[in-house]
Amino acid sequence: MPGNRQRVKRRDFLKTAGVTVAAGSVAIPELISPRALASNGKPGANERIRVAHIGMGGRGRGLYGEMRGLRDAGLCEHVAVCDVDDRRLEEASKIVGPQADVYRDYRYILERKDVDAVVIATPDHWHGVQFVHAAECGKHIYCEKPACCTIEEGKAMIEAARRNKIASQIGSQGRSQPEAYLAHRYLVNGNIGRVYRVDCWHYPSPVDKSHTPDSDPPPELDWDLWLGPLRWRPYNKRYLHGVFRWLLESGGGQIRDRGAHVMSCAMWWLGADGTGPVEVEATGTPPEEGLWDSCVEMKVTYVFKNPDWILTWNQPGEPVPPEERTGKEPGGKITRPGYGAVYRGEKGTMVHWGGDGGTWVEKKVREWVPPPGAKDVYKSPGHFEDWFEGIRTGKKTIMNVEAGVGVAYLCILGNLSYMLGRKLHWDPVKQEIIGDEQARRLMVRPQRHPYHL
């Protein structure tokens, strides 16, 4: 959302970095020792962060575009791009410029000592493996959402980030939007009382009606590298590009695509990061035909305890019509009203639309004026800016890997309950499914050699 993105001046950014935690009322603990920075190839305060991009399809190019303001402010430079599709790679090179090296295999980037950080925007089935590999090579990581496709991947990502002391940001950028801050502050100050239920809505997933048989991959595509961790199967053009989202193995459907946005807002605003449900029950309608197998329609209920609240994911659910706007609001006009959530509290309700790069809240929330003594909440300077602060100061980012994995687990558990056709019981402390051996097996999906954790 370029309209939501403030241009950052290098001097302003450096002034902000490191003082936000102290000034804010929300505790964001340190992840990285500041002493670890500006050493071992890590960027110091006056150095540009040297970024490489892994995955330069639609989203990868979009993320590059979002970072150009930071590059122009002298905060970073783009030193390499990588894609398994040569046409996309060539296109990326044209966009990013001749100074950026080009690679098919992301591991060439990871072995370079002069790369500080990577932006991962590959299909979802690659996120866990590439995140862990990048962390093991000491790179700071911005990784598109959802963080992971399995419980095992999520645990490995958290462990790799901790062990290697890297700053991570998962791409649920709704948390960093201006109206997300307003919603968070509104809820924290008790305007609707204790929230006991959050109902998300989202339009249904598409059906592949193309009847496309398997075929040879096009010459520009490295099918083996595109599949990566997934078990081998013949190429079918309905796997890619972009449409990987509609396969349970890779994208996981709407719930793992947009659920990782809308439910991310709920977990952040309700202070539920680090917690999880104790029960998950899903029902859904699969496509009537085609390669894609994620739910067309779906309903998932998550039961949280201590504190008690309910989260539901509903395709299509009951969408709330978008409010009229002038476009001068902090988040601008509502351009994606097809998803959002209703927060139900003991004293009222709150509605938001979107939840990703566009996050919009009701007028009453925007216009609420905090009285003296009101609680403030952390205000992200922008999703990439917040990540850069994490890199330079060691501050924990707003959508750090622990938070991102926690949200991804909601999506994963919803899909597992749907696939198995039964309620799942989850231990949020041990992060394990309880009392169902088959479901426990599905927490793990061993990966194809050598593309594994």
């Binding site: 090179s93 295999d105 591991r107 072995e111 009847h211 198995l420 097996r441």
Partner: protein, 194 residues
């Protein structure tokens, strides 16, 4: 829907109406092991969408019989899948699917090492069998991986070593190559002088 039988299931899956096929495979679970072979045959020979529906029916059965409290349905399903996985008349890709079906519901004590080892060393199925054994990760599964490690060659031996490490077994050589880049591109940076 009237009482579903295996014959009726197969008839419905052959329907030209995709919604009829979907509702049929969704209802396949309680038919259990008895429906697996007919479904596999249909998956192997049917027109594209009918084959897909039959395959999804097999998965539906696996997810149904694997539920807690359905041991009397799970055991025969494992036996039937075990027979089909070695049936070379079935397409390789379907046999790979069957390996993954087994990985969800087979108990470690049901893995016969003498039968599983040739599958681990099989050129078509070996990689999927390796991953399935890693998922099960019990003493028998690990035993097959250890035996396979001593006999496998080249990259497959390396892959098995990685699986054994995942299962907590110390293996020094060969090292894990997961971070070693292998694939180069012919694309050059656009606009960069040679």
């Amino acid at each position: 829907m009237e009482q579903l039988t295996v014959a009726k299931l197969i008839e419905l899956l052959n329907s030209p109406d995709p919604f009829v096929r979907r509702d049929a495979w969704l209802a396949a679970g309680p038919l259990g092991a008895a429906a697996l072979r007919p479904l596999a045959d249909l998956a192997a020979t049917g027109e594209l969408e009918i084959s897909r529906a039959a395959n999804r029916g097999m998965w539906q059965i696996v997810r149904y019989v694997g539920a807690p409290g359905r041991e009397e349905l799970r055991r025969p399903a494992v036996e039937t899948l075990g027979e089909m996985v070695v049936d070379t008349r079935l397409p390789v890709q379907l046999r790979r699917d069957i390996v993954w079906m087994l990985s969800e519901i087979i108990k470690d004590e049901e893995i016969d090492q003498a039968s599983a080892l040739p599958l681990l060393l099989d050129a078509d199925l070996g990689e999927d069998v390796r991953m399935a054994l890693q998922r099960v990760a019990g003493p028998n599964a690990i035993g097959v991986l250890k035996a396979g490690f001593t006999q496998a060659q080249g990259e497959h031996k390396t892959a098995i070593a990685c699986s054994l490490r995942k299962c907590g077994i110390a293996i020094d050589e060969p090292p894990c190559p997961k971070l070693v880049p292998r694939k180069t591109t012919t694309v050059k940076p656009v606009g960069r002088d040679a």
